[in-house]
Symmetry: C2
């Protein structure tokens, strides 16, 4: 960075560059945009961050982030308590909510089992999931985990752990994504879509 920018700006750029999606260069552009729009952007963002730091907490039931604990979803009597959708991270929970295809409750694992990264079962919120699944009235646990090696390893492990809980354990369907043209799809997806074919 330019020595002329002064330590405050350098520090700001350094922190911004730690955000996913912002490299050193774009962090510099972002810092500049903030400094140029002091009233409309810089100060509001500063407030929003301290506000979030002060008010956002982790839901003790499902592990999601919200300003209330239990979170709005866990506290919502309109949500179907017989269904638990297991997601890797809060980002996946948000994606599910945007899709609007699920009206049950969630359970955020906080990661995936990974031999490479040395992430074992104890590092994830698996114990609480098993206890929740064993609770009165829970019918089904839907494993909405990524279609990656770690995602599938985790799914299989969870299926074993949940075997005794007396709930049915399901996974998201695999197949051709909406708008997916066959000649642009990877072979694995096409093969799975073929294996999982169903009557038209």
């Amino acid at each position: 960075m330019a020595a002329s920018a002064g330590p405050e700006i350098e520090r700001l750029i350094g922190l911004l560059s730690k955000l996913p999606g912002l490299g050193p260069r774009s962090a510099r552009r972002a810092a500049l945009a903030l400094l140029k729009r002091r009233e409309q952007l810089l100060l509001p963002l500063s407030d929003a961050l301290s506000e979030a730091a002060a008010r956002v907490k982790t839901c003790q039931v499902c592990g999601s982030l919200d300003t209330q604990d239990p979170c709005a979803i866990c506290a919502d009597p309109a949500r179907d308590g017989t269904l638990i959708c297991v997601v890797e991270e809060v980002g996946a929970l948000w994606a599910m909510e945007r899709a609007g295809a699920f009206r049950g409750r969630y359970h955020v694992l906080g990661g995936l089992l990974s031999a490479l990264d040395g992430v074992g079962p104890d590092a994830l919120r698996i114990g609480p999931l098993v206890s929740r699944a064993a609770e009165e009235g829970v019918r089904e646990v839907i494993l909405a985990l990524p279609a990656t090696v770690d995602g599938q390893t985790t799914a299989h492990y969870l299926a074993d752990r949940l075997a005794g809980a007396g709930v049915s354990v399901t996974m998201l369907a695999r197949g051709v994504p909406v708008g997916g043209e066959l000649d642009w799809l990877d072979d694995g997806t096409i093969a799975q879509a073929m294996r999982a074919r169903r009557p038209a």
Copy 2:
């Protein structure tokens, strides 16, 4: 956004998505990263922003951003006061400083003349530039403006305005960028590099 995220998080995401380089999706990922790394990232960034808001000001001489006014460059007696490098924005000034190829002073225009966007001379810091150029001891004004239509329009306009100031007005050279392979370069650059060819 998920209604489950709570207004504080939504507001944070909304503000982050206003940063250059961050769309709605990446802003969501950034917000999540901030909330997950409360102590290391969220609180420090909040502080850095309010600190910058409180301390960073615009240099009354050159228009750059710094915590001191005049800025570190304008106040540095070691910089060559006979040279003034005109840049569009502070970002371009930082880029010049990173290149380390200029030891004079700067003048930040704060934009470019643009008929399309209705940016006229009065919207830019042109008056102050002309007065600075006319000051005792200034020898040369280097127009380091982008090689775009607006950039060149502005450069020609400035050359006219500075004609009477008794300084030589120069522009950055055009040509093949370092590491530039001819077959990847646009025709305009190749043509300019050919016109501006020099003895090897």
